[in-house]
């Protein structure tokens, strides 16, 4: 697997885990060739799928659950398909499940169950490690050293969530110039993080 995202990594090929009858509560008995195809899809696409779903849903946990469900649906297909078609079906299924999950969350929030609050608490708990706090401090210091125009783009685009065109209007520059400011500032933040990593590793 190519992704090195520990927070969202699925530990083992899903096809292996779904291979035994009753896994995940599903009575799925995939044919061996389909399992092999799914393993290939997993190796090729899993990292990007997990990342996409985490961004789409705002939750690494939701991303993993959705992808498990999508894999199960692909395994349950009644007709053999090419790997390309199976990958396409997996993507479409995952997109639909993510939409469903978003709607469910909206309903829960309307009912006052405050799913967002729960997610926030989970996120803060995950952040409460020493390394995470250190990373945040590095980023905070880096932001404080940005040239003023980049800092302005950071506040308007990243913190306030304005679209690049809106930021451009506020700053009196084009949307493309805003993108360049934001790219430069992220590049600088990454540079500060990389320097700290190198120091940690004694390089």
């Amino acid at each position: 697997m190519k992704a090195s995202d520990a927070g969202t990594k699925v530990e083992e090929p899903v096809a292996d885990r779904l291979g035994s009858p009753g896994a995940m509560g599903n009575e799925v008995s995939p044919r061996p060739d389909r399992s092999r195809a799914l393993t290939e899809i997993f190796d090729e696409y899993n990292a990007s799928m997990v990342r996409f779903l985490a961004i789409r849903t705002g939750s690494a946990e939701d991303a993993k659950e959705i992808l498990q469900e999508a894999y199960a649906k692909v395994l349950a297909l009644d007709r053999p398909r090419t790997i390309s078609l199976m990958a396409g079906y997996l993507w479409r299924t995952a997109v639909n499940l993510a939409m469903d999950r978003k709607r469910e969350r909206a309903v829960r929030e309307r009912l006052g169950r405050s799913a967002a609050c729960v997610a926030e608490k989970g996120h803060l708990a995950a952040e409460s490690t020493c390394e995470a706090r250190e990373t945040l401090a590095i980023v905070d210091r880096a932001i404080g050293k940005l040239p003023p125009r980049c800092a302005e783009a950071f506040v308007l685009h990243v913190l306030k969530g304005l679209k690049q065109e809106e930021v451009g209007r506020a700053m009196g520059i084009s949307g493309e110039a805003v993108r360049k400011h934001v790219a430069r500032l992220f590049e600088y933040i990454q540079c500060c993080l990389d320097a700290t990593d190198a120091t940690r590793r004694g390089l």
Binding site: K2, A3, S4, D5, E44, Y45, A47, S48, M49, R51, F52, A54, I55, R56, A87, G88, W91, R92, V95, N96, M99, E127, L136, V139, D140, I143, K145, L146, P147, P148, R149, C150, A151, E152, F154, V155, L156, V158, L159, A177, R179, K180, H181, V182, A183, R184, L185, F186, E187, Y188, I189, Q190, C191, L193
Partner: protein, 98 residues
């Protein structure tokens, strides 16, 4: 542009691309999340350096509430800003320290 300059430009382009992908994946309507887009996304993300930068962009954008205390620079600071984007901020800061 020399090799070093081209490498820097390529690095900045990756950040711009990562931002664009992040925006697309988060905001695009479901009808626009086609198989073709999936293939382009998977191809782009399969590159290790793209992946590293995209994951950092995602983390920074995900943590943005932690930096909410930041205010906009003052008018005086903005008017005095001489940074023109032609070099990285690290390089610019290095030059201005000398």
């Amino acid at each position: 542009m020399n090799e070093e300059g081209e490498a820097r430009a390529a690095g900045t382009d990756r950040w711009v691309e990562a931002l664009a992908w992040h925006h697309t994946l988060r905001e695009a309507p479901a009808k626009d999340l086609t198989s073709g887009l999936a293939r382009r996304w998977q191809h782009w993300y399969a590159d290790a350096e793209n992946q590293r930068i995209f994951d950092n962009v995602s983390r920074l954008l995900g943590d943005r509430r932690l930096y909410q205390h930041r205010n906009l620079p003052s008018r005086e600071e903005l008017e005095a800003d001489q940074y023109d984007l032609s070099v990285s901020i690290s390089e610019w800061r290095g030059r201005h320290r000398r």
